[in-house]
Amino acid sequence: MQNSGQRFVILGIFTVVIFIYLVRLFYIQVIDDNYKLSANNNVLRYITEYPARGLVYDRTGKLLVYNEAVYDLMVIPKQVKDFDTTSFCEIIGISKEEFEKKLKKARTYSRVKSSIFEKQLSAETYAVLQEKLFKFHGFYVQPRTLRKYPNKIAGHTLGYIGEVDDKLVAKNPYYQSGDYIGVSGLEQSYEVELRGQRGVRIVMVDVFNREKGSFSNGEYDSAAVSGQNLVTTLDLELQMLGERLLENKIGSVVAIEPSTGEILAIVTKPGYDPNLLVGRVRSKNYAQLLKDELKPLFNRAMMAYYPPGSTFKLVNALIAQQESIITPSTVFPHSFVVGSKSVKCHPHPGGLSLEGAVQYSCNPYFCNAFRAFVDNRKFVTSENGYKIWRDYVLSFGVGRKIGVDLPHELEGNVPKVDFYDRYYGKGRWKASTIFSLGIGQGELGITPLQMANIMCIIANKGYYYTPHIVKKIGDKTNSTRNLSEKHVTLVDASHFEVIQNGMQKVVEAGTARIARFGNVVICGKTGTAQNPHGKDHSLFVAFAPRENPKIAIAVMVENSGFGATWAAPVASLMMEKYLTDSISRPELYERMIKGNLLPTKKD
């Protein structure tokens, strides 16, 4: 039976089908690229290698912050098989309900991809868990690190880290969900240096998400680079002493090395143990600290505005000299009367020249000097006089951010002309209206950091270096900020001698005799800042030794009365400790430590 027509039909059908298949194959294999992407998504897993965050040391090489290993417990729901959930829950310390909830959450995310089951298990928990981990199919641990603070000090300065939120991940391409980032203090301002560089390992996985080796022999992998260590300018011993002295008080201490701007100690009280804001307990503790009436989270050293009180007389004296309003030998009448008001003074010898006025903190003297400046005819108007006075003040690092390498520094307040124009009306105010600025009261607001910086300026006779907290990054000098630039004030060096003389007398024979120790020549000035809300703030600023100063300090103790009672002893003890590495007045030390000036808490 020769039936050639049919044989070609059959041949044709075979050919057409095979041809259609070839076209389809050409399309999916050569033209359409989607399948390549899908294949990569199937098989490639990007595993993040977390770098260890940099450590933080004090200026003498003592450890302030280190890393503690913790373990994130991960789960791949698909691989979870029946197991002893009771003992599992016991080990990691969760309830059965929590267990079910967490597992369900992980399942919702993905059955084959891993997700965090329980964060930050301690090394102890991990040790117990590890023994039995082989029984818990689908679970494994991923090492992470947590910050740890051996000395429980300087919480505000060191700062803390937290997990990045979605907003940040969207904004900053470096961060991925699950990363940690510095949210305050050093951790924030030196985040880039501390965090290091995340690494990635690309592995291939099979259908059960089991690792099957590295992709392309690790060609595209990158190793994690550890964060750089920081050497801070803090002196651990001094910082600890400062925190101990201000225990149960509200206030702050800032100590700076005048020749460099290095911050030796920066204390704000009440504070908190930085270990409280780490890991799983952070949010709970944070909420608690936030509720505390004494505001332990508030960094008074850089954010609290205080009227500088008598300590500001020094600045006024310098400015007035520069404009030749006064000379060291100028004498003012021992009274200052404006209308019905008169400024009173402590009992002290009359007819004081500038040095004596500093020594005895003579209020009328400085009110007179301030009025002589602002209302001076050479400035034509009081308004212009004030403007010039204000420019001088700002050159002392007041009323503006100094640029410390810590976040959340505030400017302080030296009112502008507009402020008084608005308050009193344009042209309706003059020196006698705002004379209290002459003695550091009124609208002035200065942070303890700025007060300490003023001390540096006086110690250096006219200049300062930007106060800063980080000396070295890794092995190199901190070059992230301009720290070697000398900031010169508008007052010539020659005008500082008489001020230092007066300040030396304050300690030797004036209001702050309590601050004396050894044969160190100390220049200091007490202040008592009037506080509309309660008892006056006690304030003391100083530097020592007078020749070649090593430490400038500002101490503020809220609601504690005269500067000499609390602030001066604290400053003195700290200077002694720093300069002589000893405390020669144990009774004074005891008295300071035991003093409890906290308001009685309302229940």
Binding site: Q6, I10, R24, L25, Q29, Y35, S38, A39, F208, K212
Partner: protein
């Protein structure tokens, strides 16, 4: 009739060559598909690739055995062999072992045998034997009935084993019947029935029937309005409408749930890539990610890491597509095309009707396997679990395809002797 000088006289070496190349390609790709770091040797008997080597070796023995025995044997014993295989099909229903829902396996020690595979060449031989009988005419109803019965019986028994895929293969004999004189209308009707079936699943039935009715009215208007024409067209329309409206019944009451799902996946109605659509999707990803030249030997991540299911048996083509790319696919399809053409060429050069019909059967069976298997992996046909001839892992299938093909080689080697 004279005796052959040697068993290798008149052997069609082209077919044998293509066979050997396909089998070797299959072996290498099985190795790549289930490659196991711990068992690197391709000869490791504990792995599929090691076992496939055993199947290949025994297949070659079978091939030589077929070449050695007298070619007349197959024609003479076509019916007994067919009968014997039917008995085995009954036996497997009674004593077989169920694997993946199909009760179609005999288990003998560590080996498993699938009798349905052997029913293919047995049916082919019986059909060839019957249709080559003198005075047979495909136009006769009786001939159609008997030939149909030869095919229907194994289909029924295999369906009883719940092995739809293998049963479907027997539909390929339609080509044989067509070649031997069955009206082309059968092919056309079959084609349109399938088309209507698919359309009915995708488009509203009312629309289809309306369009068909429109065409019918148009046809009647254009053709001579003889009584015969009108009746014919009306009957066709009625049958078509019947097909369309019975689709739902067939779909919901005859098909198994998984079969329904597979058809839905193919038609894009079921897009659950983690469920029913998983296999096809992963298979497409494997083949599609191969690109022009492929990822290279042992570098196919889709198959090596088990994303593709059944990667050494039904989905072996994924490994080819992924590791050797479009060029690899082209080579495989090219080899099969060459093989099919060669078989059809051989068929037509026979003086023996039996050999010619048998050859058409071989080509048809191979073609339907090729079409269904590769069509499934590239998402053009629903998932139907039948192997890719010579390449897929499995003793039963390799043996049966070897027997199927080498009986043809043997029969063909007699082409110069037999006069009929």
């Amino acid at each position: 009739m004279r005796k052959q000088k040697s068993i290798f006289e008149n052997i069609d070496w082209l077919i044998v060559g293509i066979y050997l190349v396909l089998v070797l390609i299959g072996w290498v790709n099985i190795y790549a598909a289930v490659y196991n770091e711990e068992h690197k040797s391709i000869l490791d008997i504990s792995q599929n690739y090691g076992r496939q080597m055993v199947w290949i070796a025994t297949s070659l023995v079978l091939a030589i055995f077929i070449l050695v025995i007298d070619g007349k044997f197959f024609e003479a014993f076509a019916y007994p062999i067919y009968g014997f295989v039917l008995l085995i099909l009954v036996a497997v229903l009674l004593f077989g072992r169920e694997v993946a829902g199909s009760k179609s396996w005999f288990e003998i020690g560590a080996f498993r045998l699938q009798p349905a595979e052997f029913a293919k060449f047995a049916t082919n031989m019986a059909l060839a034997k019957y249709l080559s009988t003198v005075n047979i005419n495909m136009k006769d109803f009786r001939t159609k009935l008997v030939a149909g019965t030869f095919i229907i019986i194994p289909i029924a028994m295999i369906l009883l084993q719940n092995d739809t895929g293998s049963a479907l293969v027997f539909c390929s004999f339609i080509f044989v019947l067509y070649r031997e004189g069955l009206s082309q209308n059968v092919l056309i009707i079959g084609f349109f029935a399938v088309l209507l079936f698919v359309l009915a699943l995708m488009v509203s039935k009312i629309i289809i029937v309306s369009v068909l009715a429109g065409i019918a009215v148009l046809a009647i208007a254009l053709l001579r309005k003889t009584r015969k024409n009108i009746i014919t067209i009306s009957v066709i329309l009625a049958l078509a409408a019947g097909v369309v409206f019975s689709v739902d019944y067939f779909f919901h009451n005859v098909l198994e749930p998984h079969q329904k799902q597979r058809i839905n996946v193919l038609l894009g109605k079921d897009t659950d890539l983690k469920g029913a659509g998983y296999n096809v999707n992963q298979s497409l990803i494997a083949i599609g990610s191969g690109g022009l030249t492929g990822k290279g030997f042992l570098n196919g991540t889709q198959t090596k890491f088990d994303f593709v299911p059944e990667q050494s048996t039904d989905f072996i083509f994924c490994t080819v597509g992924e590791e050797w790319g479009f060029l690899g696919s082209l080579v495989i399809l090219g080899l099969f095309t060459a093989l099919l053409y060669r078989i059809l060429f051989i068929a037509e050069r026979q003086k023996s009707d039996f050999t010619r019909i048998y050859a058409y059967g071989v080509a048809s069976i191979l073609f339907i396997h090729l079409m269904v298997n590769i069509g499934m992996t590239i998402g053009l046909l629903p998932v139907i679990g039948i192997p890719l001839p010579f390449l897929s892992y499995g003793g039963s299938s390799l043996w049966s395809f070897t027997i199927l093909l080498f009986i043809l080689v043997k029969l063909d080697s007699y082409r110069t002797f037999i006069l009929r």
